[in-house]
């Protein structure tokens, strides 16, 4: 093959573009939509990776490798946030195994939780979690389900001030204790809040989501598929024709697009054990997203099924 000046310039230009714009490379998946963390301006992909149940595989070597493959696909598709908790059994060491196997991807945004009723045990638990992950520090640590939240928040804000973590948050799920959750949001300068929100669980739209926007807090959405029950329930139903207009090819994408299109939502956290599903989830954060009118149409459609 004769290399002409023109082909050389074209090839060099393409190579240069690939270095700065990996998502634009041929064959690479489209980059997911990014959302800013209000307290810092840091940009995060709108779809993360949850590990509740899916990563709790114990010492099973086959399943550990499968989890590592899911993580590899997640990072390859442009994902960053992985979220776990001491409550999730062996999920933390399994994440650590995957990160080690993948050569400690720099893209990782580590989101953990503190979950012990003894406030004094909080720092030791966070340190144990850090060792399981094998990271120098966590990006985000959240008080899980508001357990012993007052003292844990003191610990977390002190750790943030010392640079031992970057962000502080609180979590709840399935509509638990929203009143207290709201009080804490009003009283403390949290970086992140995490709660359940999806096309059928919309209670958060009334107070928590507007309050997060007002207070400048990033929102992580857990249980987007109601722990798989929602996607199973919709499995036999036909996706409406108009879903193609918002780029939703599956029910999972339909649900995720509904979630991440809420202006106050920062990251949705679907969990999966399958590589094809993690790719499908990240793709939900690409392409067109529904506007307010379309979101209402989506919710009504699912409600009427």
């Amino acid at each position: 093959m004769i290399i002409t000046r023109r082909t050389f310039v074209k090839t060099a230009a393409a190579s240069g573009a690939a270095l700065v714009l990996p998502a634009a490379a041929p064959g690479a998946p489209p980059a997911p939509a990014m959302r800013a963390v209000p307290s810092s301006g840091e940009m995060l992909p709108a779809v993360g990776l949850g590990t509740w149940i899916t990563f709790n595989v114990g010492d099973d070597p086959v399943l550990r490798d499968e989890c590592a493959e899911v993580m590899a696909a997640f990072f390859a598709a442009g994902g960053r946030m992985i979220d776990s908790s001491p409550m999730y059994g062996s999920s933390q060491p399994v994440i650590g195994y995957g990160l080690e196997k993948l050569g400690r991807p720099e893209a990782l945004f580590s989101a953990e939780k503190v979950w012990t009723s003894s406030a004094a045990d909080g720092p030791a638990q966070i340190e144990q979690s850090r060792r399981f992950w094998g990271v120098p520090r966590f990006d985000l640590v959240q008080v899980h389900n508001l357990v012993a939240w007052e003292t844990h928040l003191e610990t977390l804000f002190a750790m943030k001030a010392d640079g031992r973590i970057r962000y502080v948050g609180i979590t709840t799920s399935e509509g638990r204790r929203h009143d207290l959750f709201e009080q804490i949001m009003r009283a403390h300068p949290l970086d992140f809040v995490q709660f359940t929100y999806n096309v059928v669980d919309r209670e958060a739209e009334e107070r928590l989501l507007p309050l997060a926007a007002e207070r400048g807090m990033a929102v992580i959405v857990n249980r987007p598929f109601r722990q798989g029950a929602l996607t199973r329930q919709l499995q036999g139903e036909t996706l409406p024709d108009w879903a193609a207009g918002i780029g939703a090819a599956t029910w999972a994408q339909f649900i995720l697009k509904f979630i991440v299109s809420h202006p106050a939502v920062t990251v949705a956290l679907p969990a999966t054990t399958r590589v094809d599903h993690v790719r499908e989830n990240l793709l939900a954060a690409t392409g067109p997203l529904p506007d307010a009118a379309m979101r209402e149409r989506m919710a009504a459609y699912v409600r009427d099924l």
């Binding site: 114990g58 099973d60 399943l63 999730y88 059994g89 012990t116 003894s118 012993a148 638990r176 722990q227």
Partner: protein, 225 residues
């Protein structure tokens, strides 16, 4: 470290304690079976020998039967509950010692003397039937529920058939702390059944049925008195 749910248990549901998928749960038995094979042959032989001893020489060998059961409870508590199950379900770390306690109670019950397996009323006979079912039928279940045979639960290796067979034998027993020895295996079957139910596993009714049958047999015996 005190688990968080202890202080705020009312905010949790049974499903919240289901931390693992059915696939992970059944693969745990596959891996344990692969690790311990061919120990299964020995534990099954020990179980069948216990039933034969109870049938043929009901007033002798009480101590030996208790010691064998104690060894198997201790082994299952350590090898499966503590070393494997607790890795995917932290709550089991609090349950595994109960199997050790059961082993201790069996040793004490046997060593005190007076432990015999001579009850041949309806409850006693039903107990031996249940014991045989725990020994022989339980390992054959996986294909009926669409699982590979490699995930079979075997007496002396897995907790459910161990608890079921032991309860069956104990139904035929008298003296030597027998009423006390029923508590931990019964509570285990309840916990196991609820866990399988939360997993949506079609086998969930089996440990619950076994526990209910044992309780019904005990009630019948009390009424017949």
């Amino acid at each position: 470290m005190e688990p968080a749910w202890m202080s705020e248990w009312w905010t949790y549901r049974l499903e919240d304690f289901l931390l693992f998928s059915p696939r992970v749960y059944w693969r745990m038995f596959e891996l344990a079976n692969a690790a311990f094979w061919p120990l299964h042959l020995l534990t099954l032989a020990a179980g069948l020998a216990i039933v034969l001893l109870v049938l043929r020489q009901p007033r002798r060998h009480g101590l030996w039967i208790a010691l064998v059961l104690a060894a198997l409870f201790a082994f299952v508590g350590w090898s499966l509950l503590w070393s494997r199950y607790a890795a995917i379900n932290w709550a089991i770390a609090y349950v595994a010692p109960a199997f050790g306690l059961q082993a201790l109670l069996l040793v004490i019950g046997g060593a005190r003397g007076g432990l015999a397996f001579d009850r041949r009323d309806i409850a006693g006979r039903l107990g031996l039937l249940i014991a045989v079912a725990g020994l022989v039928v339980y390992p054959l279940l996986p294909p009926l529920f669409g699982r590979p045979s490699a995930s079979a639960e075997v007496f002396g290796i897995a907790p459910d058939p161990t608890a079921i067979a032991a309860l069956g034998v104990l139904l035929a027993g008298s003296g030597g702390l027998v009423p006390l020895l029923l508590a931990i295996p019964l509570l285990w079957l309840l916990l196991s059944g609820l866990t399988l139910h939360a997993m949506g596993d079609p086998q969930a009714w089996l440990p619950l049925l076994a526990a209910a049958t044992i309780l019904a047999a005990l009630t019948l015996r009390r009424i017949a008195r």
